[in-house]
């Protein structure tokens, strides 16, 4: 049994928002709800970097800890999901989350928030797999189909990775190592004038 993780490689992310739209289009998410976002730092100067962030499916997820109705739960593979039927839209998970992942579409009464929506790692929700209800509430369940999440699969530059933690870490380690033979190898700039 693997542990599912996301990893975004900032050296690769070009802020094209492919992941964001792949997620929205794939799950028919209402406008205004962002399961995934791309954030950039140092825009327009040296050191501009972007990163794509969604729910990180934390171990010890703070959202699970603070949920007053236990609507959020973690699967054995580490994916953190929310039961929208249980959720009351209090917003505590949003305040607990370090990544700003929980999103709240507006509900019907007094402009109160509806049930929380967040990245499902393309794993649907507690309803029957591939049922109409699951599709409507949570979008596709690609994990059940044996597919990687849409955002990572559609990443233009393969910056965003998703999947089994060990494999993701291996891929990333290999990348860092390969880069190491190039511009950023430790000590190269001093020892060999970068070449």
């Amino acid at each position: 049994m693997g542990r599912m993780k996301f990893l975004c490689d900032v050296e690769r992310c070009i802020d094209c928002n492919g992941c964001v739209v792949a997620c929205k289009e794939g799950h028919h998410i209402p406008v205004g709800v962002n399961r995934r976002r791309v954030i950039s730092i140092n825009q327009g100067e040296m050191g501009e970097k972007s990163i794509s962030v969604a729910c990180m499916h934390c171990s010890d997820a703070p959202c699970i800890a603070v949920c007053p109705v236990d609507a959020i739960y973690q699967r054995d593979d580490g994916i953190v999901l929310v039961s929208k039927k249980t959720c009351i839209g209090c917003g505590y998970c949003f305040m607990a989350c370090p990544f700003g992942a929980p999103q709240f579409p507006s509900g019907q009464v007094f402009g109160a928030r509806g049930a929380m929506d967040k990245c499902t790692f393309c794993a649907g929700g507690p309803e029957e797999t591939h049922s109409k209800e699951e599709k409507k509430l949570y979008g596709q369940n690609r994990i059940a189909e044996g597919k990687v999440p849409l955002c990572a699969a559609m990443c233009a530059t393969k910056a965003l990775m998703a999947g089994d933690a060990d494999v993701v870490a291996d891929v990333y380690r290999e990348r860092v190592f390969t880069r190491g033979s190039g511009a950023n190898a430790w000590g190269w700039d001093r020892a060999y004038k970068k070449k």
Binding site: I14, A22, E25, Q43, G146, K147, M154, A156, M161
Partner: protein, 931 residues
């Protein structure tokens, strides 16, 4: 409700106590992790990834039972990513990931990720419409087509065939683009053009005149082998995001420096190792400065130049003037940086040069593009993997449409407009040349270049003197935006003067909203996912875009509209003589005629076979190893000379036999030339010892002719000449040198000339523009008389435009996509903090921007460090506001795009390339004031 889960309330507890006990969940938790993880290797940098993502276990339920998966190609940019469309009961239910596509490997930018929206968008046109008393009125297809064709025929009778201007499209299939060009020919005019005019026309002209073909020489995938990547005027991260996958691969694997030369610090620059800020419009000066520095330091590839380059000495003499100090004065690049870049170029070979509209959209665009080519020639980077000029084209099929020459200056496949060219195509079409001549006003107009997309509206407004017997009375926009043309406010004026404007598009486009007279017809064509045909990517690869679903609403596919129009014009029989099955027979016909560029080897069967088996192609060299396409290169990059030729992945590569995809430089401009500048006579054929393996001639040779008497390799429809050449191991087009001196251009060697609207009066005196051209694509184009040194006093800021990743072209499609609209909800312009403070403009303030040519727009300021203090930058995708006025009410009901905004092209300046009439939108002047 009973407690479903057991969980410790103690936060520091391990996760194991939070395991779900819900049996439903527990069962589903055991997803096919192995499969998901296997698919994940697609993100690894391994080049061996050709495996299909492991299919889900049979036990896993299929969310869409009975659905079929259709392979198709994204319709946004020319990178041509693969899409797998899942179709259930004739409805496109889901966009699947084409993980095994050899180029994109499943990758998409935000536009491609919502490709399905092209079909599902609520903003699509639902049926034919016309404007009556300012209101949009629905009508039937029959009625619409009858009225349109009657009106057009009436104009043809009264004012002549040249009173109609056709704007074709780079967003349709190659077959459809070919039909558009053919339609103009049968109509009897050369007034046909499309987006390539304002996108890469200067590239095609400049590059083809340097070494034979005006296209990307290598491929997007081949950039993986580059040791250096030199971007100039290209923002691939925004315009070609998926190409960045291979570019970053080269950066990481090869330790390749990435140099970005641009007036704006783009998102591509964010990934660069070196960023060079040049003044907009100083490309030639900067690149000639690099060439000079390379030669001065003896870093040039002397053997390559000796054997394969012509006119080097003459070019060297010109480049000498561009010393680091001169370049600093013109481009603003410090001499140390220039030398640093030159040294990087010299020490990292092969490097590739990538350019886009930042280089092409200038009055000296055709000099810019030649300067880039010469840089690669001097470095000896041509014809090798990892080198070449990797010109990234714009629209998804702009390469195909350019190859089909939906252009006012040529018949398909760059045959030109000479009598011989017409006769060639008449033979292909199986029509009598005399009959064809009869369609035109006279023989002069048959061979005369028509109006271009850049300036057709001046054929209506007549602000500059016309060189045609009648002004334009009607315009047809067939898959073409109008807000991408400079001086859009004048274009709008022209639309209101026209007798008839017809818009054939899946979306109403701004053209429909800008026409405020009862002269507009809207014919809703289907999107390209609702029809089929081949499409040529920027890498010259041809893929088959399969039909995903039948046309939605009351839309019709382009082929149907074309045939209905031809019927009503009365030449359907001649037009469709060879075409029974659409579109396959069109592919065959255009292939039969397009011998110059080797479109004949790519039969529809082969193209489909490649697309069906895209997983068998290697991502590194794009060759199929085994499988049904064994040995072929993906998409059979043209030229593909015969039906068993594998395609030419790298142009001018003399290390391979011609039969395996090798080629020398093309012999196109005679065998000998005496240069005007030096009086030196030079053999234009390649030197002894330069030849493709297996060639019977061990050196240069001229192009093939008279294998079949009276024909040459371009006109021998039996294709015997091509086969004979390949049998002899030779290229049909000869083996020549690449030219540094293009004697048929006004500037034989690229030299810097100040933009028409230059902020530097002192440099205008030193580097003035050209003389006015009275007969430039059927009208006067002003150069010297427009280049006034005093402009800068009133209009002190440089204006340049560019792309956003979220939108494409004029944005009619993408601004109608709610998710993309959400990401870029409004028009803005970028301004440096210093400039903003000087004008007391704050972030978010509304600002009037005015151009010297009378246009003005009101846009929101975005303060940024991306741009320097002398320049402002704007995206050009927006439309729907005109000089502060909303045009939302002019759209048909329910089709107003989610995002409206001022069109940047209202303020882009007058100014056109001397060779191709490319609009100068990348540099101009403007003034700003707080609104």
């Amino acid at each position: 409700m009973a407690q479903k889960k057991v969980r410790s309330t103690h936060i520091a507890d391990s996760k194991s106590t939070r395991v779900s006990l819900n049996p439903k969940l527990a069962r589903r938790s055991f997803l096919k992790i192995s499969a998901a993880t296997a698919a994940l290797t697609g993100v690894a940098m391994t080049s061996k990834f050709t495996r299909k993502a492991m299919a889900a276990d049979a036990a896993v339920k299929d969310p869409y039972p009975g659905s079929k998966k259709v392979k198709t190609i994204c319709t946004h940019c020319s990178v041509a990513c693969g899409i797998i469309a899942e179709v259930q009961n004739g409805v496109w239910v889901r966009q699947e990931v084409a993980t095994d596509h050899p180029l994109s490997r499943g990758g998409h930018c935000c536009k491609g990720a919502s490709a399905i929206d092209m079909v599902t968008s609520e903003k699509r046109l639902k049926g034919p419409m016309k404007r009556v008393n300012g209101k949009w009125q629905k009508l039937s297809w029959d009625q619409a087509l009858d009225e349109v064709s009657q009106k057009l025929l009436a104009i043809r009778d009264n004012d002549g065939p040249d009173a109609v201007h056709w704007n074709g499209s780079a967003k349709v299939s190659t077959e459809m683009a070919y039909l558009q060009r053919k339609l103009a020919a049968f109509w009897g005019t050369n007034n046909i053009d499309h987006q390539a005019r304002i996108c890469h026309s200067t590239t095609v002209a400049g590059v083809a005149n340097t070494w034979g073909y005006g296209a990307m020489t290598n491929s997007v995938n081949d950039i993986r082998h580059s040791k250096l990547i030199f971007f100039i005027g290209s923002n691939a991260a925004a315009a070609h995001p998926v190409a960045m996958q291979h570019i970053l691969h080269a950066k990481e694997k090869n330790n390749a420096p990435v140099i970005v030369v641009d007036p704006r610090f783009t998102r591509t620059a964010a990934k660069a190792t070196d960023y060079v800020r040049i003044r907009s419009g100083s490309d030639t000066a900067f690149v000639m400065g690099l060439i000079n520095a390379i030669i001065e330091n003896d870093w040039h590839d002397k053997e390559f130049i000796r054997a394969r380059v012509a006119g080097f000495d003459e070019m060297k003499a010109v480049a000498k003037a561009y010393t680091p100090e001169v370049v600093e004065d013109i481009a603003g690049v410090p001499p140390e940086q220039l030398l640093h870049i030159a040294k990087l170029l010299a020490t990292h070979r092969p490097g590739t040069v990538i350019w886009c509209m930042g280089g092409t959209q200038h009055s000296i665009g055709s000099s810019n593009t030649r300067a880039y080519c010469i840089l690669q020639l001097v470095l000896g980077n041509m014809g090798v993997s990892g080198g070449g000029t990797n010109i990234l084209r714009g629209h998804d099929n702009v390469q195909g449409a350019t190859d089909m020459c939906v252009l006012s200056n040529s018949l398909p496949a760059y045959y030109g407009l000479k009598e011989g060219s017409w006769k060639h195509w008449c033979r292909v079409w199986d029509v009598d040349y005399e009959w064809m001549l009869g369609r035109f006003k006279d023989k002069e107009y048959m061979g005369k270049k028509g109006f271009t997309l850049a300036r057709w509206y001046d054929g209506v407004n007549q602000e500059d003197e016309l060189d045609q017997y009648t002004p334009l009375k009607s315009v047809i926009f067939w898959g073409c935006a109008s807000n991408s043309q400079s001086q859009f406010h004048k274009l709008k004026k022209a639309l209101d003067k026209m007798d008839l404007a017809v818009i054939i598009d899946p979306f109403p486009t701004i053209t429909a909203a800008a026409c405020e007279k009862d002269n507009v017809y809207l014919l809703p064509s289907s999107s390209q996912y609702e029809t089929s045909g081949s499409t040529t990517s920027t890498s010259r690869q041809i893929q088959w875009r399969y039909k995903v679903v039948e046309p939605v609403h009351d839309c019709r596919d382009d082929y149907w509209i074309m045939s209905e129009l031809c019927k009503r014009f009365g030449f359907a029989e001649e037009f469709y003589k060879n075409i029974k099955q659409v579109p396959e027979d069109i592919t065959l016909e255009l292939g039969r005629g397009s011998l110059t560029i080797g479109y004949n080897g790519q039969t529809p069967e082969r193209i489909k076979k490649h697309t069906d088996n895209w997983h068998t192609f290697n991502i590194d060299d794009m060759q199929a190893k085994g499988g049904p396409c064994d040995g072929d290169y993906y998409g059979m990059p043209w030229p593909c000379w015969t039906e068993d030729h594998p395609g030419t992945p790298i142009l001018y590569d003399v290390s391979k036999t011609v039969a395996e995809g090798g080629l020398p430089f093309r012999n196109r401009f005679g065998v000998e030339k005496t240069y005007d500048a030096s009086g030196r006579k030079e053999n234009q054929l390649a030197a002894e010892g330069v030849y493709n393996p297996g060639s019977q001639v061990k050196g240069g040779y001229p192009e093939f002719k008279d294998i079949v008497p009276g024909t040459n390799w371009k006109t021998d429809l039996s294709q015997k000449t091509l086969k004979e050449a390949i049998k002899r191991g030779q290229a049909p087009f000869g083996n020549a040198r690449a030219r540094c001196v293009v004697w048929n251009f006004p500037d034989q060697v690229p030299i810097h000339r100040e933009p028409i609207h230059s902020p530097r009066p002192d440099l205008i005196a030193k580097f003035p523009t050209y003389e006015d051209q009275p007969k430039h694509f059927r009208l006067l184009t002003r150069y010297k008389s427009e280049q006034k040194p005093e402009w800068v006093k009133e209009f002190p800021l440089i204006l340049t435009t560019g792309r956003l990743v979220e939108y494409m072209g004029g944005g009619a499609e993408t601004r109608s996509n709610k998710y993309l609209a959400e990401l870029q909800p409004e028009m803005f312009f970028e301004i440096n903090i210093k400039t903003a403070n000087n004008y007391s403009i704050r972030n978010g303030d509304m600002v009037w921007i005015e151009s010297p040519n009378g246009g003005r727009i009101k846009v929101k300021a975005k303060i940024t460090k991306r741009i320097d203090e002398h320049t402002i930058w704007m995206p050009f995708h927006f439309a729907g506001y005109l000089e502060g006025r909303s045009l939302a009410d002019n759209y048909p009901e329910g089709t107003v795009p989610y995002v409206l905004g001022e069109s940047a092209n209202v303020v882009t300046n007058y100014g056109y390339d001397i060779v191709t009439q490319m609009q100068e939108t990348k540099t101009g002047l403007c003034k700003i004031s707080k609104a």
